[in-house]
Symmetry: C2
């Protein structure tokens, strides 16, 4: 099954994406225009991304003290991507966009992640610009966001600091008003920032003529103190090079300096940096301090950031998924071509017979089917979430509200599940290759290294789990969880009537109930420390239940269209669902056990006994 | 807990290794001599191995067409190891050995694997020489094995071929008698070999003045045909440089040529090679063909190899375990020193409070305790198996027979379990470090890369699983499995009487029963293809059950010595056991489900539907 076949089924047969074109915003689109976008992206990914995936791994970004050098292939890939118009795919026609549904944009971007996840880093620019479109002033949109959509400039998100990592409440970057009349700068209230930002992807490079940093910082109170916690955080635009109100470079460098490149396990095509803001290396108007323009209200910076979080996290989920998928395709290809060993038959092995291809061995098939079920299931989940974002943006008031609620609950899964299980898929892809998979002559080891990042960035696994069990399933009196349960039960009820799926439907209903019980028992004492001690096992069980639902729904759809399973596509979907229900869903009981007993074995383990 | 503390407890408190010194072979040893060996190895590992672990990762072996260059540190480490006498630790005094119990040798070697798994590759030389001690002629022992024990020469194992990988029955290397009088060469019947051998560790280097290759090859029949299957395989000594009967180099190069180095994901300090035997690059006596001396009987080569397999596989298990342990120590250290975030309390977080160290977060403790339970449990299993080898070599006839049977069943677990779960531990060690763990500034990413090899070499995961379910639990009418069950039940019965362990004992008894039922049901139709389709999930469940037993036994021993849990060591062991029984053992049901239903979802999945 090619990626395109899978995407076409999910987008059109399953999610009825074409149906969106009856809405005003997407009225100019139809199956043909959607196909054309996918065709273009598939081609660019094949020509400009895939051939250079190993190159960007071996030729890491290099800093000579002045400039960061990236391979020519990275420049070419960025240029091709920008020229495709994908940077502004979702934007209005009048600013040069395509008004494409987000679900189609996400599907189209999957080709690039599959071909070379780290050669491109456009998602951050798009997220950055989207944030400005939502929270910036008209001039901020024009000067900064529009230039990012065109690919002329690029963007970053500067949240983490070396001493604080995930703990944003400890952000120590300070922003002070930049002298008299600071409020009246046309680009936004003007501040000077000082601090260090860590893990900043694409924080320095020469791909674009300017870089638009979006920076979280705190404005000190009258006593010069920073407000503790996240309430004190504000958001600023800090351009690498100063610009005027017409969006032209003024020729002055802003006081943002690269302190160093991070040398990573994988994902090496993308520069990752430690940036010093305002240390005085590039004084502006003779003064140290990076010039930054306030976005939105002071103290509301994190809320602006979170507004973009769902799409960013779905983006990470898709990246993790497509790395898994790339490994799946590579190992499938290898298994079809590699002769080795003989099948086990009732009569034993015939040593004189020619070797069979390894895809004929049951355990190799198990490893391939596991990868397929993980990765195609994850892709379905990501596109489902992307479709919810379309609903949130263009659906009826009630549909939009339901989409919002579902996204609250599903986003931690969309981010975490592929990060964990498509990484496992990458490990299986290595295993299928045997010793060859452990060499750098085959691509699978790089996929595995690249994918290891996804459980860490954009909120670690632990953070996602706390978000899910500590906030999302509780918020608004559990409305999101209730709504998800209704959706799951709708699938259960529909598939109860399809004989081949009925046992799975029953298993899913039971799993859903188990998750519900565990949720209640986790919180039954009302003590966060007890409930959240096993937040990760909870998230694992929740994720597997969601994926079981996705597979049941996908298989149900496939069987609706092809009840006799005449096509291999249908057989593939039904087989994956069966695999997931037989091999994967039963795993949830072990995870839920510790959740519902509020097991404190780990939490109370004495430090000295480690 | 330091590695030394853990080793001391396992060796002395748990396995009563000192008790072995009452046996004649070990009569000169006592706790002090054992401590001295551990002290020496700990010191050499700290001084000559650990500081260069990153170096050997970044300065890979380099081949200039003539010689393979390794970093000076690798030479120094090899020299220090050889000078310690550890190469011949288990050998008789009269050939310069220490007559050390294997369990002590294995424990001592753990320090090296923990410090730098790939800088040293002595295990292969020892295995090679041990094989010759068991199957070689007196002269073969003197000329080849003794020089390997002294470190003057080193050894390899040449099994795999590029076209055959795990499928040894397809070995295509040919060995033909080397002219008249070939049988009467003092070094053994003399053949000429031609063929290619892949994945040969330490196949070429300048660490030693000669390299002793042990090569599997087939002797053609009268028609020049190779016998199909493994029956046709013979074993040969093929020295890199020709030697005379006195063991002196004759100055003639043998016809073994390095065809290329493999460039690997990890484990980069050890050269891994493709070797061409007999291609004519270095003709001997004007003739192409690598000169090889037969070891043992023609056609019995694989049996000789398998003789050494248990120790080789325990060696891999220890390597995997110690890589996991190295990651555990690194992440524990990091978690104790890194401040970030605040603990969750009933009253919510106090944003103004100082940050706590991350070891105080429940999820970080969960990740640390998981690593500890995986790695210390695996270490206990490996030492238990090593102790069985001592029993096999020096125990009473009945004890030796029981040890042999137990090793048959346990070796696939000793090899596979740490390869899978201590790799998972390495992933958790990265996760504890957050973004820093993904950089090459910290050691954990390398441990994870290094450890990925262990599920592949010395018999892949799939091969181990087929060995376990297809051979080991069935052989000799299931005697091995029955004996293991008795040992497990003995632990269950003993721990039933210890209140804090009684619930675990019950859980273990049930797990054992579940494994037994699954074994029967898997084979109830007698069709290998049905039984073995889920051999890997079977091995996973079997392995988790074995580890639960190990933890229960270790905890029982700790509580026997310290019933009030006054020491942190006891608290650690009891806590790990509790963790394993609460978080890990319940996982077996999902694995066993597909085994006992003989699930063929994967095996029957149509190739075209992938």
């Amino acid at each position: 099954m090619t990626l395109r076949t899978t995407l076409d089924f999910l987008l059109h047969d399953w999610l009825d994406t074409t149906g969106l074109t009856s809405r005003e915003r997407f009225a100019d689109h139809n199956r043909e225009t959607i196909d054309a976008v996918l065709d273009t992206c598939e081609r660019i990914a094949r020509e400009k991304y895939a051939p250079f995936n190993r190159l960007v791994d071996t030729q890491e970004p290099h800093f000579d003290g002045e400039k960061v050098t990236l391979p020519k292939a990275t420049h070419d890939a960025f240029k091709a991507y920008a020229e495709s118009g994908m940077l502004s795919a979702a934007q209005d026609y009048d600013i040069g966009g395509m008004q494409l549904p987000y679900s189609v944009e996400a599907a189209a971007n999957a080709f690039f992640a599959c071909a070379s996840v780290s050669i491109g880093s456009s998602l951050l620019s798009v997220g950055n610009a989207n944030l400005l479109m939502a929270h910036g002033t008209e001039l901020q949109k024009q000067v900064f966001a529009h230039k990012e959509f065109s690919g002329q400039w690029s963007g970053t998100m500067c949240l983490s600091e070396p001493q604080a990592g995930s703990s944003l409440s400890d952000v120590a970057t300070r922003a002070v008003p930049d002298g008299e009349g600071f409020e009246s700068d046309p680009l936004g209230a003007r501040y000077r920032l000082r601090g260090n930002k860590m893990w900043i992807s694409s924080g320095e490079h020469e791909l674009t003529e300017n870089i638009v940093h979006l920076v979280l910082a705190k404005i000190p109170d009258a006593d010069g103190k920073l407000i503790p916690g996240t309430r004190g955080i504000s958001l600023f635009i800090v351009p690498k090079k100063m610009v005027n109100a017409q969006g032209e470079l003024t020729g002055v460098r802003n006081d943002v300096a690269l302190a160093g490149l991070n040398h990573k396990l994988g994902w090496r095509g993308t520069t990752n940096t430690l940036l010093n803001f305002g240390e005085g290396k590039f004084p502006v108007d003779g003064q140290a301090g990076a010039v930054g323009y306030l976005v939105g209200q002071p103290g509301k910076g994190l809320a602006c950031m979170f507004h973009m979080m769902n799409e960013a996290r779905i983006g990470v989920g898709i990246a993790a998924t497509m790395l898994g998928m790339a490994g799946y395709y590579a190992s499938l290809d290898y298994a079809k071509g590699r002769p080795q060993g003989r099948p086990i038959t009732g009569a034993g092995k015939d040593a004189a017979a020619p070797q069979t291809r390894i895809i004929e061995h049951a355990d190799v098939k198990r490893m391939l089917l596991t990868q397929k079920a993980y990765c195609e299931g994850a892709l379905a989940l990501e596109l489902y979430c992307a479709r919810l974002i379309d609903e949130q943006h263009t659906g009826s008031a009630q549909d939009a509200e339901e989409a919002r609620l579902l996204l609250e609950v599903l986003t931690p899964i969309a981010k975490s599940w592929p990060s964990e299980w498509c990484l496992e898929a990458n490990s299986l892809a290595i295993q299928v290759h045997g010793g060859y998979g452990y060499t750098r002559d085959f691509p699978v080891e790089q996929y595995w290294r690249d994918n290891r990042l996804n459980m860490i960035h954009e909120g670690t696994h632990g953070i996602q789990a706390m978000d899910l069990l500590g906030r999302k399933v509780l918020m608004e009196e559990g409305k999101g969880l209730t709504l998800l349960s209704h959706r799951i039960m709708a699938t259960v009820n529909r598939c109860n009537g399809i004989p081949v799926l009925a046992p799975h439907a029953k298993a899913l209903a039971r799993a859903l109930q188990d998750v519900g019980v565990a949720t209640q028992k986790a919180w039954s004492t009302g003590v966060p420390g007890e409930a959240l001690a096993n937040a990760v096992p909870y998230m694992q069980a929740f994720g597997h239940t969601v994926l079981a639902w996705i597979w049941l729904d996908v298989a149900g759809c496939a069987l609706d269209n092809d009840p006799q399973q005449e096509s291999l596509v249908t057989q593939g979907h039904v087989g994956c669902a069966k695999f997931f229900f037989h091999y994967e869903l039963p795993k949830i009981n072990a995870w839920l056990g510790v959740v519902q007993s509020r097991d404190l074995t780990c939490a109370t383990f004495p430090e000295g006994a480690f």
